[in-house]
């Protein structure tokens, strides 16, 4: 399974969640397959999905899922100590680890070589770290959401991309409908 198949498998679990999605193909795939107002698509700024997700989770009570990639976590590796030391039990960081920079043409990342992001997260102090295969992605995410504990999921999958259109929604449109979804989620 590649990233797009993993994201496809997550859609039923993501339906009622606030989702912050990584730049590039992950956001484009999520937008194409399962657009909803509670999805915040990153149109730029590689690496900050986990930071946006944590900031959001810390200031309100609804659950937040950040969908990130191995390359983006590597580019903002400082995010893992910040997450570990500012526990938000309504936060799940789901890292799609395909061992490659998918959006730029599947150049290999160090996460696909010697570096284990799960072990990095543990070493940073993250207390609930789950590594899973692509076929277990939805189950692992469901478990994390039901655990009511902050969880880092590292989902190993194959590289490879599908043709997918760019997101043409205006950033302020994405922002405004997401803020409304956050308000609804907090009743």
């Amino acid at each position: 399974m590649n990233r797009s198949e993993v994201i496809q498998s997550l859609l039923p679990v993501l339906r009622d969640e606030l989702v912050v999605c990584n730049i590039g193909l992950p956001s484009q795939e999520l937008h194409m397959m399962g657009d909803q107002p509670s999805n915040f698509y990153m149109l730029g700024t590689m690496g900050l999905a986990s930071s946006i997700g944590l900031g959001l989770a810390l200031v309100q009570e609804a659950r937040v899922v950040a969908i990130d990639g191995d390359g983006s976590v590597l580019t903002n590796l400082g995010t893992l100590p910040t997450i570990a030391n500012n526990v938000a039990d309504n936060f799940t960081l789901f890292i799609v680890d395909n061992g490659s920079y998918g959006s730029t043409g599947d150049q290999p990342t160090y996460a696909g070589r010697k570096t284990s992001l799960a072990r990095v997260a543990e070493a940073c102090g993250c207390e609930r770290v789950v590594e899973c295969d692509a076929g277990q992605a939805a189950e692992a995410l469901q478990d994390a959401l039901e655990s009511n504990r902050m969880t880092i999921i590292v989902c190993k999958c194959d590289p490879g991309n599908i043709p997918v259109p760019v997101i043409e929604k205006h950033p302020v449109t994405i922002r405004d409908r997401f803020i409304q979804a956050v308000r609804r989620a907090n009743g």
């Binding site: 900050l48 900031g55 910040t82």
Partner: protein, 166 residues
Amino acid sequence: MSGSRKLVQDMVDAGIGFVTSVPCKQLKGVLEEIDASDRIRHVPANKEDEGMGLCAGAFLGGTRPCIIMQNTALGVTVNALATLIQYYHMPLPMLISYRGEVGEPVACQVEMAVHTKAILAQLNIQTYHFHRAQDAREFPGILRHTFMSSKPTAILTDATFWGEAQ
């Protein structure tokens, strides 16, 4: 009231509930006041662009954010400012220690000081320079302006200001 305490009181009065920071010794007093405040959640960041991501998330969650950082960090935040904070029209007051100005003991700090206002001007970020202690009287208005306009603003605080404001 110390200059640091007044700035933090102004943040609370402006409704700021979330602060991220990467420290500078000029901002030590402000950071201590923030940690002493039970009205502000302080989440230290490891890098300033990471901090801007945290602030964006807090804003999306309905909490007014602020970032505290050194001017040298502008070099690593240009992309986050342009493609996240500005592109999505988010408010972000940036309380910045303006290192490398008169009174600076470390020569290398001057190397980014000479670019500081040029980078901010290139990004069309409204910039306020606190040089004298009384300049801080503008802070409440600057914060109101930041959230009214939903844009980032830069508040540069130099060594002369901190010399007078302690």
